[in-house]
């Protein structure tokens, strides 16, 4: 029985059937993909082909990596709406560094550093002023967008170091893309960190009861800062992979990923109110989103209507999350 954070199993003495029902009610996230898969198989003949499923995994892996950092932040009860343009910034930094003669490693490090810096900025402002994390990161989001515009001058810039492209296009054993492996590995390692280390456990405490955490000696400010830096870095990593995939970058690469990463995390069962969730769950959430998108595309539903669907799904899941909180 999965129990996140500090929750106590409350039905140890109940039967297997009761436990199963309880499991299904508390983990709607695991039922949705099953239903979606079935629906997909019925609605579209090409849906359940290995190629299509691998395509879905490949498509979602960039968003998935962004959602990993977002999940860690959500567990502490914080947000980062700046991830979308940080995705762009990292790619732009790397590509411009390459133009100035930086090699493979240097350009990757610089790209990651750019993301970490924005994370540091977010974290520092929020820790120092205790301001609304949502609005502050929306502000830095626009700030990063303007930096992207200034750096790119609204033009498309191409990758000039060929080995860099492997990050997005290379496959392990010629079957699975590196980005998919990074995504899944990140989810597993982070889940282990969350559950098995003192640091990980303290994230849940900060999210569920900050005051208790502070009184029990957790250095809240320091950890918050670290999670923001981490989130910025994962967004940057996703940006590098995205750039390597397309071979070029633009100022608004990654637009929409702020909202999508939130939806993915929440769909997986991570709470927007902190203290509940995990990165393995987010993998599930990202897959749901990917399958949903894939289905909508296969069914020829226009992009505009997809936006409506996304918003409605978001509201529904958040509403259910609120109901679960109250119980």
């Amino acid at each position: 029985m999965p129990q996140d954070g500090l929750g106590q199993p409350e039905f140890e003495k109940r039967g297997v059937a009761a436990a199963l029902i309880h499991f299904m009610v508390t983990n709607p996230a695991l039922i949705i993909p099953a239903v979606l898969m079935a629906a997909g198989a019925i609605l579209s003949p090409v849906f359940l082909t290995t190629q299509n499923l691998l395509n879905i995994l490949w498509t979602v892996s960039v968003l998935g990596i962004v959602a990993m950092g977002q999940t860690i932040l959500l567990i502490t009860g914080n947000f980062d709406m700046s991830v979308a343009y940080v995705v762009g910034l990292a790619g732009i930094t790397a590509v411009i560094a390459q133009l100035y003669g930086a090699g493979l490693v240097a350009s990757i490090v610089l790209g990651l550093l750019a993301g970490a810096l924005i994370g540091l900025l977010n974290g520092a402002i929020i820790v120092l002023t205790k301001a609304n994390a949502f609005l502050i990161t929306l502000g830095t989001s626009i700030l990063v967008y303007s930096i992207n515009l200034i750096l790119t001058q609204s033009k498309t810039w191409n990758v000039s170091v060929d080995s860099f492209l492997l990050l997005g296009r290379g496959k392990l054993f010629d079957t699975v893309y590196y980005s998919v492996i990074i995504f899944l590995l990140l989810g597993i390692v982070l889940q282990f960190m969350l559950r098995q280390t003192t640091f990980g456990r303290s994230l849940y405490i900060i999210g569920s009861n900050q005051r208790a955490g502070a009184l029990s000696g957790i250095r809240i400010d320091r950890i918050k800062l670290a999670t923001y830096v981490f989130c910025g870095t994962t967004a940057a990593l996703a940006g590098l992979i995205m750039t390597a995939r397309t071979g070029s970058t633009v100022a608004n690469a990654g637009v929409g990923m702020d909202f999508d990463s939130l939806i993915a995390a929440v769909l997986g069962g991570t709470s927007l109110f902190g203290g509940r969730g995990g990165t393995l769950r987010t993998i599930v959430g990202v897959l749901i989103l990917g399958v949903l998108n894939n289905l909508l595309v296969l069914l020829n539903i226009p992009y505009e209507a997809q936006q409506i669907a996304k918003g409605l799904v978001f509201l529904a899941v958040v509403w259910m999350d609120g109901l679960l909180q109250k119980r």
């Binding site: 609304n132 502050i136 626009i142 700030l143 209507a305």
Partner: protein, 324 residues
Amino acid sequence: MWTKTRQFVLQHNVVMLLLFLVIFFSLTTGSLFSNGQNIHNIARQISFDIPLALALTIVLIAGGIDLSVGSVLSMAAALTMGLQPYGSWFSVTVALIFGAGVGLVNGLLVTKGKIVPFIATLGSMTVVRGIMLTYTRQQPIAGSDAAFTYWGAGSLGPIPVPILIVLAICVAVHIILKYMQLGRNLYAIGGNPEAAFLAGINVFRNKVMAFVLSGLLAAISGVLIASRLNSSTVHIGLDSGLWAIAAAIIGGASLTGGKGSVLGALLGVTTLGVLVNGMNLLGVHTYYQIGIRAIILIAVVAVDALSAMNLRKKLMMQSYGNRQ
């Protein structure tokens, strides 16, 4: 009168900021800034932002926030233009009803659905934007009634018509906030929801009304912009929501609720309008303007949080002192 004015200036740093900007741009741009035509332009420009700032002020007073105003604005503009063949007044009515309807849904999500306001309105922002994109098929819609442009683009003597409309709305909102039960209730709810509830205020109904007013005001802004441009595009209203939040907070509203006024919102919008106008006159590149706007938003939210923190500390010290 004089002491009252002095008190107001001391309480609202925005007055000083506005004065500083006006003097700064007058000096740096020469006669470009302080001439009749430019002041006319600023007045017209800010008249489209004022309803949004009022919307945010009302919701912030009630302790909420509304991120959906930008989407509502663009959908209202699209409806105003798209339904114009059926009659301008019909299309305006539908646009306003749409805005109020979105506000109603927002209010229900926040009160009955118990979703935090900024999450609920983030969701509705996405949905409404999707509806707008679906409705317009991402194409601009041109107006078909030339007479309708009077409300956004016309002038009455030297004064732009929209600023007159908007000032009338300001008076109405001022009366609602200061002299009507609804307004007093909103301040009470935003200041201390529990105390308001215990005092017998219907928190549910008043909060929903705040969101309805917010949606309605956003739609008014959309109608005026559509009238001004005589068309609607998918680009309008993209960042106006955040800009309106900044204007409302500069004008004295707070994310902690219970504070804000119409006069403050007016001053906030004017300050930001003067800033944008001055930057344009100075030839500041758009890319840098976007960055400057972002820094202003961050600074405004951070300062608001810091002053709330100071207030909490002060109150804590006081209660500690009383106990001793």
